[in-house]
Symmetry: D2
Subunit: 482 residues, 4 copies
């Protein structure tokens, strides 16, 4: 996805997931199921949505700006016949860009071997290099998205089948990718990079149709049973020869060294999803429990969460600490895109539109408030002030992840390194900045404790600055932090 | 508000609040503050929104279909100058009605003494009678809203000032009303019926401007300090003589016998609001605690809520029962108005779009699930099935209100009496219908326990069928259930 | 219709017709036919359009901003069942007024004897007076349109049938009105003021259904045969007793003294319409012929028109003068509402967007250019300059109407008297102002010549300043210019 | 432009121009001027419009569906800064195609030597061949437009400057093209195929800025003085070295043999334009005069036109015949895209919405009606019937072009050959089919008479079936009909 952004919105102050993908094979209801699966993945991208289906050897495509329910309606879905579909949701970015629609996936290309489409979650770190090489040979580009290079590489491949062309293209590309493809001759291909940065799962409906999706919550909604992840470095082909999947693997690195994104468990994924084979809910609950043990608050009266992402960790904290959990902050269900401020400044206006404190819970209390992460710290300081103004005697903030010190190059939109508060201040300085009575982050070694033998299979670059794969660097130079 | 509806949507199966009102006096930023206050009251009505301001002796009005943020934008607010404003949000109804815009409030009338506007929350029970009398005298009506009669009564009043005309109109009207008015000569009037069915509060900003709103959450967002309720039977006038309020009371009934709507505390109001002088959060938490005492579930593993409205009661239940509260159902933040079903029916599709079960919380567990109320029972049965399919061993449903057996005539949209499940089945029959292992409602006498001396000041008609005021009946025949 | 406007757009510099009306009785296809008839009358009003049908004793109404084809579509028309309909088109006014939709007709009122609707073309000159009286008795008004008073008068009438109520209301009202009404019990009523200022015709389709419309061009499109005008002072009732019309007449003035608007023949009506019993085409052609005789241009090379309204008169001029008519100015078919100017001012930009000169016709020629009227003279001066810049050696302007010196009070939107160029300058001064080599208007006595015995049945107030009926004055004081 | 269409709409039954192009160089107001010029060319394409400007070495692009005034507004133009612009209007096609926006020009490509944009009027006859070759080498295509190949050819060219790359691309392409290009480094290039099928002119504003456009009417509106045509086979470069144009020519064919489209003079171009160095008005007037001489109608009473395109020829006919020209058919100015038919069929409904007969002109008359061309004959038969029903005693149709027997491959959208009525019937059969008393076409040799030595420089393929250049054939095989 488009690699650079400087539109990082202050209000929520969270990293942003950069997309969700869906693939449906062999279901007469493909476009409707794809639509529902995209809806279930809406939290992974709210800017745009799109779908491509294949019918009578023709690809049909509809893409649009906005939520899945804005882009599609009955009549649009009727224009998308066929029993296979791929779909994409895209994260929210600055409004008003006139060229934005061009960048909404899936992308479709017409080539010598026919039309094909792709939906991509992730980010190619050697995109600029590959694009420059392609341009040098006379290729033209019509978007600013890194995903466009994969179309060119496939079209230029001399390999004898589509899946081999995909394999060849993947071997030229470095970075994070979970991709699904369709071709006009009825093939569905799913591919995941050898590090397995971004999730991609596979399930099956009772009628035998196969469903790929970024998270299991999408499988649940379309009543597909979760079977397994697409493995790191795996390229999966489904076509009508057997309606069974055929599996291939990228040759290098061999064996693949998974580096799954730990932030999916901290913030991005839905709590009801299974991601990288683990329950997201259980991870977050455990983060909360560990925090309660490692960073207890003596005699605290109540544990509250910053909704929605802090709730599960707060429940874990409260349970472990033996302190009641209460709904001390309520989130509005109606916050739209743009909001109008009064001319007489209301303090912390943006946050107040989204979050309301409950005085009955907070007044005179020693409060522990649990959030999932701190990025720039601006929102945290507003929340602390809001809680105090609502009567909290003391506010102790607990963060269910370690301090973020590095930007992500693997498909997540984080602010520039220098904007990350943990890069500029130590914990005590941050505590002062946000005005809390105490502040604690999840200790880094919690992951080792929690994940055990699985520990090395995750990427912690945003907490450690050690990147498994350097941006734009050849693969040899990739850094392993084992 | 429009008295009859048969559009009761199945999906959420909750009663619907019929509106929220706002009044701002003496603030140069009136329209922007009104906009924010309406946003804070958005949960009281999502169908339409409107605002009237007064500037240079002219009323400016903008109304529209949709959410507050759909109807207004910077340029619209710029068309609403002046330092006083009234506003209205309207509940969600069937789409597509071509005459719907006409019914969006505030209403404006031009009369012999100038223009004035009104925003009304509630329902006049003698509306048909008064309208017939007015029509008999040659009045014409241009909406299907009961609110229109108040405009006629005021315009026809011979009283010598606007506030006295309002008083006179109120004395002709029976039923539930919390209303705010503006006049072209700069008066703001707020009026509340003698039973005080619907809430209406008053606050003040630091610059002295006065704010009226249905709930205190609106005061909070505009940084107005809550002062007090507008009392049942009170008519409050603010004008520029003193910038202080002047208070009058309806003569009959004397003294007023408040019958505040208990359902505001059960479901309608925001948990962070103070309504009828009490914290909504504390009421709901107490309902949960009482349920835990009165309807315990032995050896249950986990307490979960039907979000969002069941959360606070579930927390109370869990705390009292000493059982962990978990987020066993997650509500989607992206559910739009219309949704497209696949042609192969997905079971309980509508509910699944909104609510997702968390297997990690439910699998193999004996689950208590807390909801605020049951209306027709259709959604409850889907939720129970969903929890079982997600692995719950047992599902025990606890409802934080008594069975609903009567429709509301005082400003709430409930289904017809015969559609109310508690009117057709006893508790055991309902339990079987929804498929729960056990089912319990809040005992009716809990209110007496909880509210103490305040008990008689609330209306319980939906639970008891005893209506403080009969629809269309003359006032003498009103029923008192003390 | 709304009596005052100051939004007079410069570009076209023509008076504006204030509406067209349609009524359909006894046709299963009523809404579709009404839609087509409104389309045929679109030149009489481009701001808004609306329709009311009656089905199962219920009035259905759809109104909207924009052209007929903007407001209605298949699905909207499907919401308008029934075999009777009335419709209205409204002239173009300033955009952006938030209350504009309220003023789009037909208006519907609910009264003691049921619902009824009205569509009105014209203007009540005693509107303010009647409205003040109604307000004094406690009536409220929700629009700024003069049409609203007729609803009140009808609702307040004690007469025993709807048509008699209409009659009674008409007797209270003075001014110009051609109106159609429908009632929920299936009556269609058409009424025309005793002066017959505005046109209203009646026709019949082959299936016996009856059609009322402002002009015969609407009858033509729906294949109704023109039968006759609704007479000045006539009130026509159609209901299901006989499917024949019943006719009544206003008592005063007796006999009616028709004062039909001569400007319908000069500019407003479509050339293919029969208006006030005369062919519009023939009138305009005759005006041109008279001009050629009375104001010849020696040795002129070519006669051209200001399209579209000047074309027929130009043809008459050219034929009489024996000089070739050419298309020297071409009008763009794509001019929208708002247009964007370059920052480097293009001279006479607005006119150039609409009109393009044809050099091949004009270069080196002595040109006669015929227009229908001059209002403020601004456009004329631009046209003369444009023709000269395109190479015309001499430009002689001929105007197919006398100088306009008075505003209209009978349903036409003209600028204020002081803005009318003929009120401020004599012909020679105007000639200089617009830069023409010569200028001539239609001599006033041409009408007497052309119309013969019919001469006294027309209103010439805009040319003479003698008003048949004074605005807001009681009827006795009406001025007769016979 | 997209080569195949089967959406030929019946109602107007005219060939459709496939686009207009504009280029502006060196004007600070480039986007606004381009907008106006596109508006002036709106008759060449109503489906979509787009513009690309260059500012600070960045191309900005806005394209959209609809008219120029739908696609652009002040704020959109503000997003298009810079002193050079190219623009495009696209003809009307079937609505609802989901991929339609992709095909709206100008197209932009990013290549190794930077970004560039193109707007194209015409059609490459060897498009399929060139595309297949490009695909063979691994190029991917993202539109269905033939224009996309030119982007690839330019990007792949090894030539050392942009203009030479364009030249090289043009030498690979065959067919009709009038194109304008911009590059991020500030070059504007205009190119016209060696046959000069489609028009392209050049003008200059008083500030020295240079304007290219399909027709001179666009120059007129932006106050640019017409200098000359871009010559057949010429490639013109403008950049900041001198602000003067540099001219190059394609090598083959040498010398170029112009084959300008005669239909531009018959129907497409605006009458006020100079096209291929000749006045369109004069051509059409002459066609009418010739018809009057070659196909006179004895004792006819009146000559009328089918507006708008038949008017000038009708004037020529009437003048030559010495018979009065009248406006016997009036065209509605409000016909929108879709129109709703009544369920009781109105005969010739579509035509009646657009054209209304004037009885006063037609009744009892022997009428000559002049149209520019007959394609499928369906509309002509409706017009003849309409004239008769309006009272015409005799209807004599005169067509100001020869019978059309061949489809166009050079940028015009005509129906398939078998749908052309003149391909299936002789003149007498057509006369019977349309129901006219007599019918005559413009004799083919009129062109020779009229054009003299210029005769061989025009393409008459649609009348003769002799194509100067065979579709998809190599250039050697091109047919010359000299």
């Amino acid at each position: 996805m488009d690699p650079q952004h400087d539109h990082y919105s202050d209000d929520d102050d969270k990293p942003r997931e950069e997309c969700g993908v869906v693939g449906i094979y062999g279901d007469p209801d493909a476009s409707r199921l794809c639509y529902l699966a995209l809806h279930a993945l809406q939290h992974r991208g709210q800017e745009g949505a799109g779908m491509v289906t294949v019918h009578n050897k023709v690809l049909k495509s509809i893409t649009g700006i906005g939520l899945v329910s804005d882009v599609f309606n009955e009549s649009k879905l009727d224009q998308l016949p066929g029993d296979m579909a791929i779909g994409h949701v895209r994260y929210s970015t600055a409004a008003g860009s006139s060229s934005i629609l061009k960048n909404v996936q899936p992308f479709v290309a017409n080539s010598k071997f026919g039309s094909f489409g792709v939906a991509h979650n992730g980010n190619f770190v050697n995109y600029q290099l590959v694009r420059a090489e392609l341009e040098e040979k006379g290729s033209i580009f019509s978007t600013t998205s890194d995903t466009e290079v994969v179309l060119h590489l496939i079209a230029k491949s001399k390999a004898r089948s589509f899946v081999l062309r995909v394999l060849e293209a993947c071997e030229r590309l470095q970075g994070a990718y979970s991709m699904v493809f369709v071709t006009e001759d009825g093939k569905l291909v799913a591919a995941r990079d050898p590090f397995g940065f971004r999730p991609l799962v596979m399930g099956r409906r009772s009628n035998g149709s196969i469903v790929f999706a970024s998270e299991t919550c999408a499988l649940d909604l379309v009543e597909a049973t979760y079977e397994r992840e697409v493995h790191p470095g795996e390229v999966v082909l489904v076509d009508d020869t057997t309606k069974e999947i055929q599996s291939m693997y990228l040759l290098r690195p061999h064996p693949p060294k998974p580096k799954s994104c730990i932030f999916e468990h901290i913030y991005f994924a839905q709590p009801n999803s299974i991601v990288f084979g683990r329950s997201v809910y259980e991870s977050r609950y455990a983060f909360g429990e560990i925090l309660a043990t490692e960073a207890p608050v003596e005699d605290c009266d109540v544990v509250i969460a910053v909704p929605y992402s802090g709730v599960v960790a707060a429940l874990g904290y409260a349970a472990k600490a033996g302190v009641p959990y209460q709904q001390g902050l309520i989130r509005s269900h109606y916050v739209g895109r743009t909001f109008i401020e009064p001319s007489q400044k209301i303090r912390d206006f943006g946050v107040k539109l989204k979050l309301s404190p409950v005085k009955a819970v907070l007044e005179g209390k020693k409060v522990v408030v649990v959030d999932d992460s701190i990025v720039r710290g601006t929102t945290s300081s507003k929340i602390v002030r809001m809680l105090k103004e609502a009567g909290a005697k003391e506010v102790h903030m607990r963060i269910a992840s370690p301090p973020i010190i590095g930007s992500c190059y693997y498909g997540i939109d984080t602010p520039r390194t220098q904007e990350l508060i943990s890069n500029r201040m130590n914990v005590e300085e941050i505590r002062k900045f946000i005005g809390a009575h105490s502040l604690a982050f999840l200790p880094s070694d919690s992951f080792r404790k929690l994940l055990g033998s699985d520990y090395n299979n995750f990427c912690y670059a945003c907490f450690t600055g050690k990147y498994p794969l350097n941006p734009t660097a050849p693969m040899e130079e990739s850094i392993d932090d084992k």
